[in-house]
């Protein structure tokens, strides 16, 4: 198993170049509904470099999936629309692309792995057909080359006797095997960016670890960028280089994975860490996400925040302030603003942050 240090050197090598692989800046994605506009993603800025894994964490409904779907415009439009912001993949603006250009990006440059492997394979076709479909959509290979590549892909994702299994139907595979097939399909055209939207949620824990190892290995072999969407902080610790914590359509905190776990700055991140089994409160974070149709003034987390002060409920969501002296670590909390005392938050109690060490064989 390759180590993360390899990845990090890759990151340095690439990020010294001009443009990031994926650059979201101030991305908004809204949905028009009969009862008002749902602001699912409301100003997200994020970059992913080649060879790097960025995890987006947050509770259900915080806009993680919509963010990931917006990147290749996978959502249904209407009702979804992007009122503001830009999405750049290898420097190309996605929001201005034609359908044909988008089809080239989808699968070719950016590929998704979905949460539910049971549903993402079409039951009426053999998995061989489906892998070959993905290859053929983006390349002009001969039949033999396509088949060879399909077998190679299946072997790479760890499916034994790949050539004979090409002719099997999805229902003849177990859940973990289906997820491996989906990964093979996602990698069929060697995308630069892999978006994994809770790829292990539907799998049991042992399979989950295998899939994460597989993704880690494939990523470092191919030097892909990976955007990993999850609500599971344990998974984040195993796979991510950087973490973005999302809440109610906004990023609350961003930083390298170690920093986030060792010195969580935003009260929301601290509350999330507190919810991990074996530490802090069992009851979770009191309260609910704000209604995405009528968002509150000020910080969106203020209503559920134990450190909320007067300032939190006025104006807009606070800008991303730097935490201490780490330029990579930023958070959207008034306590980190000029003239405020970060100690109010940082010195309060939070559960042990030794999570980064229990990630298993391939963790840092």
């Amino acid at each position: 198993m390759s180590s993360i240090t390899d990845n990090e050197t890759d990151v340095d090598a690439v990020s010294s170049g001009s443009q990031p692989l994926l650059e979201l800046s101030d991305l908004h994605t809204y949905f028009r509904t009969d009862s008002g506009t749902v602001k699912a993603v409301d100003g997200v800025s994020l970059t992913v470099e080649a060879g790097e894994t960025v995890a987006i964490v947050g509770e259900s409904g915080s806009g993680k999936t919509v963010t990931s779907e917006a990147i290749t415009q996978l959502y249904k439009s209407p009702p979804a629309f992007v009122p503001d912001g830009s999405i750049r993949i290898n420097g190309k603006e996605v929001t201005e692309m034609s359908d044909a250009e988008l089809r080239q990006v989808r699968g070719g440059e950016v590929s998704h792995i979905f949460q539910n492997p049971q549903g993402a394979l079409n039951p009426v076709y053999t998995i061989g057909w489906q892998i070959k479909e993905a290859i053929n959509l983006h390349s002009d290979l001969t039949k033999e080359e396509v088949r060879e590549r399909a077998v190679k892909l299946l072997t790479q994702v760890g499916i034994p006797e790949a050539s004979s299994r090409l002719d099997d139907y999805p229902h003849e595979f177990s859940g973990g095997m289906k997820q491996r097939v989906l990964i093979a399909i996602a990698l069929a055209c060697e995308p630069d960016l892999l978006i994994a939207d809770e790829p292990t949620t539907a799998l049991d824990v042992t399979i989950q670890a295998q899939i994460l190892q597989l993704l880690n290995r494939l990523q470092s072999e191919r030097n892909m960028g990976m955007l990993f969407i999850t609500h599971d902080l344990g998974v984040v610790a195993q796979i991510a280089d950087r973490v973005a914590v999302m809440y109610s359509g906004k990023i609350m905190e961003q930083g390298p994975v170690e920093t986030i776990f060792e010195e969580p700055a935003h009260p929301y991140t601290r509350a999330l860490l507190d919810c991990l089994p074996g530490r802090g409160t069992i009851g979770g974070i009191p309260g609910d996400l704000p209604d995405p149709k009528s968002l509150p003034k000020g910080c969106r987390f203020a209503d559920r925040c134990q450190h909320a002060v007067e300032n939190c409920r006025a104006g807009d969501q606070p800008p991303m302030y730097q935490v201490r002296n780490d330029p990579q670590h930023t958070t959207s909390c008034v306590h980190f603003g000029p003239g405020m005392d970060p100690g109010t938050v940082l010195d309060s109690e939070v559960g042990d942050t030794d999570l980064t060490t229990d990630g298993g064989a391939d963790s840092r």
């Binding site: 989808r106 979905f114 949460q115 993402a120 394979l121 009426v124 479909e133 959509l137 088949r147």
Partner: protein, 410 residues
């Protein structure tokens, strides 16, 4: 779709060039899939030839004004025969050829289908009706009105002499002082009140019923699938426009549309088939749209989009196969209803009087049920069992062919 997007179907290649793969597995796959490209070219050629033929026929009839085009070997091809030939070709290309190529699925389908005995019998019955109708109506002479041979009884029966015409080829017997005319093998199922042979008329009627049922259903199901799937896939305004059109179309019964045309341009069999095929698909489109709306939300549709598939590709390759359940249900409802509608129109005497339809013969015998029961009964029995068989068959096909039911072929 261009050439490139057709490729996922094309698989295989020659196994000999690829010693690294297990020969056994690939041999079986390749045997089915290697000729695919060639097959597509052949199909393209056949359809082109058909189109050229139709265009030439239309040209010589309506533009050059030289009458129906004469083709070598087959001679004049009637409009209904044009449609009939393409229907059968489509049936072979999209039905029989894939079944012959994918033996494993065929075995599985057969295993599932065989469980339903009534359906197997129905299938056999319909095959016989189809074969006898298609071959018989080309080999046997057409039934003709024959003065003197009216109301002949079937071969096993006899009837009072005064009921029949002057001739009685089966001979007469005298029972209790009444002269009885005996049925004869010259007319095994008797004759109508105008002296037509009922067996031959029924055989000609078989082809008419099959033509009406299959051609109109193919037209209707194709349109319904196209409209239903497009509406469901795109949603929004497209859905609204298409489905409101369907609403309007459904309020105007095809039956009245046919009456309208029957009085204006004449109600030939061709017009009848077109009317039912082109305007009778509303409810089928609704059924298919309803299921497509569900399937559309399945993750594999999004996965196809994510892989870079075009909308047409997604609808054709991912949505359509997954609604085959509704498609077969819709087809198995459409076929019998169209056959019945044609029989009803012929019964009312509104159809083409030169066509040997079962409905017309039944209608001709309705006044003589007491004296010559066989005239209305025999085609009625054919009609009854044909409708019943199509219903049984549709039911079993839906169960056997549902791809989401499994299909492992073990």
């Amino acid at each position: 779709m261009g050439e490139k997007t057709d490729q996922p179907e094309t698989d295989g290649g020659t196994p000999q060039e690829d010693p690294t793969f297990e020969q056994v597995d690939w041999a079986s796959i390749d045997s089915g899939e290697t000729p695919r490209r060639k097959k597509e070219y052949v199909w393209f050629g056949i359809v082109s030839a058909w189109l050229i033929g139709v265009v030439y026929d239309v040209y010589s009839q309506h533009i050059a004004g030289t009458g129906a085009a004469e083709f070598p070997v087959v001679g004049i091809i009637s409009p209904v025969d044009w449609l009939w030939s393409i229907t059968l070709l489509v049936f072979v290309y999209y039905g029989l050829v894939p079944l012959a190529e994918n033996r494993r699925m065929t075995r599985y389908y057969w295993k599932e289908f065989r469980k339903n005995k009534a359906a197997v019998i129905s299938g056999l019955f319909l095959t016989v009706i189809f074969a006898v109708g298609v071959i018989g109506s080309r080999v046997l002479p057409a039934p003709e009105r024959t003065p003197g041979l009216e109301n002949q009884p079937p071969v096993w029966g006899s009837v009072e002499d005064y009921v029949t015409g002057n001739d009685c080829p089966g001979g007469t017997t005298v029972v209790d002082g009444v002269t009885m005319c005996q049925g004869s093998w010259a007319h095994p199922l008797g004759t109508t009140s105008s002296g037509e042979d009922i067996l031959r008329a029924s055989i000609y009627g078989m082809e008419v019923s099959m033509q009406v049922g299959l051609i109109a259903t193919l037209l209707s199901i194709t349109l319904a699938a196209a409209v239903g799937l497009t509406a469901a896939y795109y949603g929004g305004l497209v859905d609204e426009v298409l489905m409101r059109y369907v609403d309007i179309q459904i309020t105007f019964p095809t039956f009245f549309l046919f009456l309208l045309l029957a009085y204006t341009v004449g109600g030939s069999l061709f017009v009848l088939i077109l009317i039912f095929g082109l305007f009778g698909w509303g409810s089928s489109a609704r059924i298919m749209r309803a299921e497509a709306l569900q399937r559309r939300e399945e993750p594999y549709i999004q996965a196809a989009k994510n892989a870079g598939a075009s909308s047409f590709w997604t609808v054709r390759r991912h949505l359509l196969p997954n609604i085959s359940n509704s498609l077969i249900t819709a087809a198995s409802l459409t076929i019998p209803s169209i056959i019945l509608a044609e029989a009803a129109i012929a019964f009312l005497g509104l159809g083409d009087l030169t066509v040997a339809s079962w409905g017309r013969i039944i209608s001709g015998g309705r006044d003589q049920l007491r004296t010559a029961w066989w005239i209305a009964t025999i085609p009625g029995v054919f009609l009854f069992f044909t409708i019943l068989a199509f219903n049984f068959l549709g039911d079993a096909l839906r169960d056997a062919l549902d791809p989401r039911h499994g299909g492992s072929g073990e």
